[in-house]
């Protein structure tokens, strides 16, 4: 009788034992797949939440008078708008979400306001990013909370600003910052209004937590900017940057511990199941060897069984783990949970690793049993 035939017959005879073995492997793999798949959502959710803390880098002209900068809130010098394109074209930088900005203080309806011109965010050439900030379209404006409240301005109203009429695209929620007294418009509209075509006075950005280094992040950023834009300098809004980086690292460190831990637990689990099966069937090993079967043939019977349980259980576990992640992931990770997708690479790993672990675990008790005299194996059962 062929080895596979014997494996199948044994499985059909010991349905409960085989089923429990299969269940054990499937549960171990499902646990791993669930954690890994949901872990990706957790990573993305943390990135999203920390990103939403806001842009934390300000790139300004190098010759900015810093006393005045801190007094006014922005640089009174300008730099070419083209700088943002040059920065975006550089690969391998820790700058992301590049937002070219032109800010001016001005009087509007008898009140001093900050006029902010922006374009849609630009991504670095080697990165794909979804925008964090809203961008005004040409001829449109967004009003800060305090201005909208004081002057009763609502969406679709029109406002006159430095001789140009803009349609209000919307009003912003209260932020507790200078944003509440700001008017946001498209960069080129603002440049035309203040007659500084082709110029900006700031590039806002986010430092990407994507390159591991032991060096101070700001030191690295300054070094990178010097090579890309020698006429500019960078300031970091430290509390936001630090909080963001610490939170990202915390989650990544947590996942770096928990995932290997789950792998080890699952591997041990598979190992114990395989060992129990071999111990339960030592008598068969003795019989087959007494009948003249070589240790290789007998071992292949047991290792083959471990492989079958591993492959079927691994595939089953992948299906269950993925289904759990797809079902419960979105409940935990409200935004990025929707983006949880089956990770088919894990299916390959599951059907390769589960039988490998089960086989490895079965090797030791099987080899111990087949290398003993058959009489010893039979006597011990």
């Amino acid at each position: 009788m062929r080895t596979l035939g014997l494996i199948v017959r044994e499985a059909l005879y010991r349905k409960l034992s085989f089923g429990l073995g299969l269940l054990g492997v499937a549960a171990a793999v499902a646990l791993f797949v669930f954690f890994f798949t949901a872990g990706e959502a957790s990573r993305r959710e943390t990135a999203r939440l920390t990103r939403n803390m806001g842009l934390n880098l300000r790139i300004i002209p190098k010759d900015t008078d810093m006393d005045r900068f801190w007094l006014v809130g922005f640089s009174d010098r300008t730099m070419p708008e083209d700088y943002v394109h040059r920065l975006a074209a550089h690969s391998g930088l820790n700058y992301s979400h590049l937002l070219p900005t032109l800010k001016r203080r001005m009087q509007w309806r008898g009140t001093e306001v900050i006029l902010v011109g922006t374009l849609p965010e630009m991504s670095a050439v080697d990165r794909q990013e979804s925008p964090m900030t809203l961008a005004a379209k040409p001829g449109a404006a967004w009003l800060g909370y305090e201005l909208a409240r004081r002057f009763g301005v609502e969406k679709n109203d029109t406002i006159d600003l430095l001789g140009k009429t803009l349609t209000v695209a919307g009003t912003l929620p209260e932020s507790g910052s200078e944003q509440d007294a700001s008017i946001f418009a498209q960069l080129h509209d603002v440049q035309a209004m203040v007659k500084t075509e082709g110029a900006i006075n700031e590039i806002q950005a986010l430092n990407c937590v994507c390159f591991d280094t032991d060096r101070d992040a700001l030191e690295v950023l300054r070094e990178q900017l010097a090579s890309a834009l020698p006429d500019a300098k960078v300031l970091q809004i430290r509390p936001i940057a630090d909080a963001r980086e610490k939170q990202r690292r915390l989650v990544e460190d947590y996942l770096a511990v928990i995932i290997p831990f789950i792998v080890v637990v699952c591997a041990a689990w598979l190992g114990v199941l395989a060992m129990m099966n071999v111990r339960e069937r030592r008598c068969e090993i003795g019989i087959l060897r007494a009948l003249g079967y070589g240790s290789g043939t007998v071992a292949s019977l047991f290792l083959g069984r471990a492989a079958v349980v591993g492959i079927v259980g691994g595939a089953l576990g992948f299906a269950v783990g993925t289904a759990l992640a797809l079902t419960y992931g979105p409940q935990v990770f409200k935004v990025t949970g929707q983006a949880i997708r089956p990770m088919y690479a894990l299916l390959v790993w599951s059907v390769l690793a589960a039988p490998a672990f089960a086989g490895l675990a079965a090797v030791i008790p099987t080899m111990l049993a087949v290398t003993q005299d058959p009489a010893v194996t039979l006597r011990d059962t």
């Binding site: 009788m1 014997l6 017959r9 044994e10 059909l12 005879y13 010991r14 008598c283 068969e284 003795g286 019989i287 087959l288 060897r289 007494a290 009948l291 003249g292 079967y293 070589g294 240790s295 290789g296 043939t297 290398t371 005299d373 058959p374 009489a375 010893v376 039979l378």
Partner: protein, 226 residues
């Protein structure tokens, strides 16, 4: 056929060393039916297992058909066992998930499948088990299981059959049937060594060997039968 030369076997246990066999010499001629008898713990089973290449002795030589069994590699010894020796155990040791027919055919480690099935079916028929061919061992009586074990032992046309208390769990009628199966093999020229407490096998035996404290009882220990 079988030659034991100064075979000894010691086991180490928590209570110290136990001598199961003490420099035993035994010769079994081809076509002999030998019964080995002795009290519990006298070393009967150890003698049988050592003789069948199943338990390496601590010292001495075991020759079967002129082959030094323990000079062979593990793989060669397994093949030698399969081709030359049939075993019958007290606890039957049938594979629980295979049918009666499959259990018997399992003994064939090589050979054409159709020939093996036919031979297994014929053996079962000879021992009155044809109607049970498709049954699992758990569906058989103890006597039937042991007859299946005897059929399995005979499938490869071995030269030697070793039986360890083959009727220890059987009633007298079933015991007689099992010994009859072994006797048929013996009458066809096979060599049989049976370890047993009882006397049911005596009338089939050419010789009875008494074992005590791991030694063959000298003088009156061996009894030649007519």
């Amino acid at each position: 056929m079988v030659e034991l030369q100064q075979v000894s076997k010691r086991f180490r246990g928590r209570a110290g060393e136990v001598i199961a066999l003490a420099e035993v010499d035994l010769h079994v001629a081809p076509g002999e039916f030998v019964v080995v008898r002795g009290p519990s713990g006298s070393g009967k089973t150890t003698l049988l297992l050592a003789l069948g290449g199943m338990l390496r002795p601590t010292g001495g030589k075991v020759l079967v058909n002129g082959v030094d069994v323990y000079a062979l590699t593990e793989r060669e010894r397994a093949r030698f066992r399969g081709e030359n020796i049939g075993f019958v155990f007290q606890m039957f040791h049938l594979v629980p998930y295979l049918t009666v027919l499959e259990n018997v055919a399992l003994a064939a480690t090589a050979g054409r499948t159709s020939t093996v099935w036919a031979a297994a079916g014929e053996l079962l028929g000879r021992l009155g088990l044809s109607p049970r061919e498709r049954h699992l061992p758990s569906e058989l009586s103890a006597g039937e299981r042991q007859r299946v074990a005897v059929s399995r032992a005979l499938l490869n046309h071995p030269k030697l059959v070793l039986a360890d208390e083959p009727t220890g769990n059987l009633d007298p009628d079933n015991a007689a049937e099992v010994f009859e199966g072994l006797a048929v093999f013996h009458r066809r020229g096979g060599t049989v060594v049976v370890v047993t407490h009882g006397t049911t096998a005596d009338h089939h035996a050419n010789r009875i060997v008494h074992l005590r404290d791991g030694r063959i009882d000298g003088g009156s220990g061996e009894k030649r039968m007519a």
